[in-house]
């Protein structure tokens, strides 16, 4: 480990003479830097998307799974009696931690986004809602349905799974799309660095031939190019990641609008994830340049 660290430090510092062997390359260096920065910027967003949708999927599947709703639709006179009967059934059902009747105000609030604030709720045949919170063991849905239909014929149990499942599925799919995007960004970075490295190797054909003539080994010649591209990719990625994180930091917060949607951003220690991108970009560049260099050197004796 110590040896690897020492090699890594030596690689980053570089040997001044080795660096000088290949002529400085001007604007192509800037292009590599820019590409790397742009890719890192995109990678930050892909990462944010994956993490946010992951969070969303977790939330929908865990929080909503523990709550269900009982809806009581009955003629006006019977609602109260059936509600009491349903509460009684729920209270005696194993696995139900809490059953709470929604107040008129709460129901009004739920309808507000659709009908506006001044809805005369009492004049409408609105069903009564009961919120059911499960304990960790959970209850037997089919059994509860049977008992409810016997005691309160107007009660319908909705355990949310009907609409929760497609949402969780969609969120999961989005998360994998985000991860695929990160993979594609990494591959595209590798491809672009390979092209840039090939161009540099071709432009420096004379340098490589001279080095080979005076007895330079392949690893020495490759190192002169590999170090250059790795450092460019690394510094470009650092710039891109910082820009991406600043952009995410200033995204408008959605948590006020509704706790249901989670903001596209990083939360807590997830802010550390983007810092993985620059080393990853460096590894991709190292590998891509090395492969390109070794391949082009093979053509020389």
């Amino acid at each position: 480990m110590k040896k690897i660290t020492a090699q890594l430090v030596a690689f980053v510092k570089g040997d001044k003479q080795t660096i000088q062997v290949v002529p400085p390359s001007g604007h192509t260096a800037t292009l590599t830097l820019f590409t790397s920065a742009a890719m890192a910027f995109l990678a930050v967003f892909a990462l944010a998307l994956s993490l946010a949708t992951g969070r969303l999927a977790d939330r929908w599947s865990s929080e909503l799974a523990r709550s269900s709703t009982v809806r009581i639709s009955a003629p006006a006179g019977q609602i109260e009696a059936q509600t009491r009967a349903a509460i009684e059934v729920l209270r005696t059902t194993p696995g139900v931690a809490q059953a709470r009747v929604f107040t008129e105000d709460e129901q009004k609030k739920l309808l507000e986004p659709w009908f506006g604030p001044d809805l005369p709720i009492n004049t409408l045949p609105i069903p009564q809602l009961i919120e059911v919170i499960e304990d960790s063991t959970g209850f037997d849905t089919d059994g509860l349905r049977l008992r409810l239909s016997a005691e309160a014929p107007g009660a319908v149990l909705d355990d949310h799974s009907r609409w929760r499942k497609p949402l969780v599925k969609a969120a999961d799919r989005l998360r994998s799309l985000g991860l695929i995007s990160i993979l594609l960004i990494a591959l595209a970075t590798g491809a672009m660095i390979t092209l840039a490295a090939n161009a540099a190797l071709a432009a420096n054909g004379q340098v490589i031939r001279v080095l080979r003539l005076v007895g330079a080994q392949d690893s020495y010649i490759a190192r002169a190019f590999v170090r250059r591209f790795t450092m460019r990719a690394l510094s470009g990625a650092i710039v891109g990641v910082i820009a991406g994180m600043i952009a995410i930091l200033f995204l408008p917060s959605t948590s006020v609008a509704g706790g249901f949607l989670t903001g596209l951003g990083f939360q807590g220690w997830h802010w550390l994830w983007p810092f993985v991108i620059p080393p990853l970009a460096a590894v991709v560049a190292f590998w891509a340049t090395r492969t390109a260099a070794i391949r082009s050197l093979r053509e020389l004796t």
């Binding site: 003479q17 001279v210 003539l213 007895g215 392949d218 050197l297």
Partner: protein, 225 residues
């Protein structure tokens, strides 16, 4: 040092060299002559392993070149000084860095060799041009710089391809004097040239053997020179 046994080399078109056998003994001085296109450069390339013989055996420092991997070839090249026909420098580096290039790539500390480098540049008469770029030098200066680069690692063999190709007679004599001096220090020298005056001048100073390539064969030229 370098030994060729029944070596043949053919390009896509046809055979350029065939059935060549030669043994370069340590401390020997050889001229390689023959008309342009006869294969002098190809012969030297076989010796410094830039080309692989189509058939036959090429041994460098006792090893069959066919069995060497790329790194072994590179290491063996550090023991052979080559003065290339067109010199071949790194055009963005000053002369001193170009001459010291073999030291740099073999990982030696050029700082420690600073004095040696200066001596070597003085020896080839280029001390005052140490900071010049290769493009700023004249043909003769470039040839001398190439010779300095070829010998900085103190190689056992020096192979020079037309080292006096584009220099005047005075400069040719100076370059020859440098090569003769190297030979007196025990180096094996092989010079490819078609300059018969150069060969005559050398014969007065050292015991040089002259090889001639003609009709794809390598012959020992007689005393007619």
């Amino acid at each position: 040092m370098i030994e060729l046994k029944n070596v043949a080399y053919s390009y896509g078109g046809g055979e350029l060299l065939s059935d060549i056998s030669l043994k370069l003994a340590p401390g020997s001085f050889h001229f390689l002559t023959g008309p342009s296109g006869a294969g002098k450069t190809t012969f030297l390339k076989l010796c410094y392993m830039e080309l692989v013989a189509t058939s036959g055996l090429v041994q460098v420092f006792g090893r069959d070149t066919r069995t060497m991997n790329r790194d072994e070839i590179a290491r063996n090249r550090q023991r052979i000084g080559v003065v290339h026909q067109d010199c071949r420098f790194l055009d963005h580096l000053p002369l001193s860095a170009n001459v010291a290039l073999p030291l740099t790539i073999s990982g030696r500390d050029t700082g420690e060799e600073e004095a040696n480098l200066h001596d070597l540049l003085s020896w080839v008469g280029l001390a005052e041009h140490a900071d010049a770029l290769p493009a700023e030098l004249s043909g003769g200066e470039r040839q001398r710089a190439a010779l300095a680069r070829a010998v900085i690692m103190s190689p056992e063999v020096v192979l020079a391809d037309e080292p006096t190709g584009n220099v005047d007679w005075e400069m040719s004599k100076r370059l020859l004097a440098l090569l003769v001096e190297l030979n007196r220090m025990g180096k094996t020298i092989m010079i490819a040239t078609h300059d018969l005056n150069l060969i005559r001048a050398a014969k007065a100073q050292v015991n040089a053997r002259v090889l001639r390539i003609s009709n794809r064969q390598l012959q020992l030229a007689g005393a007619d020179l």
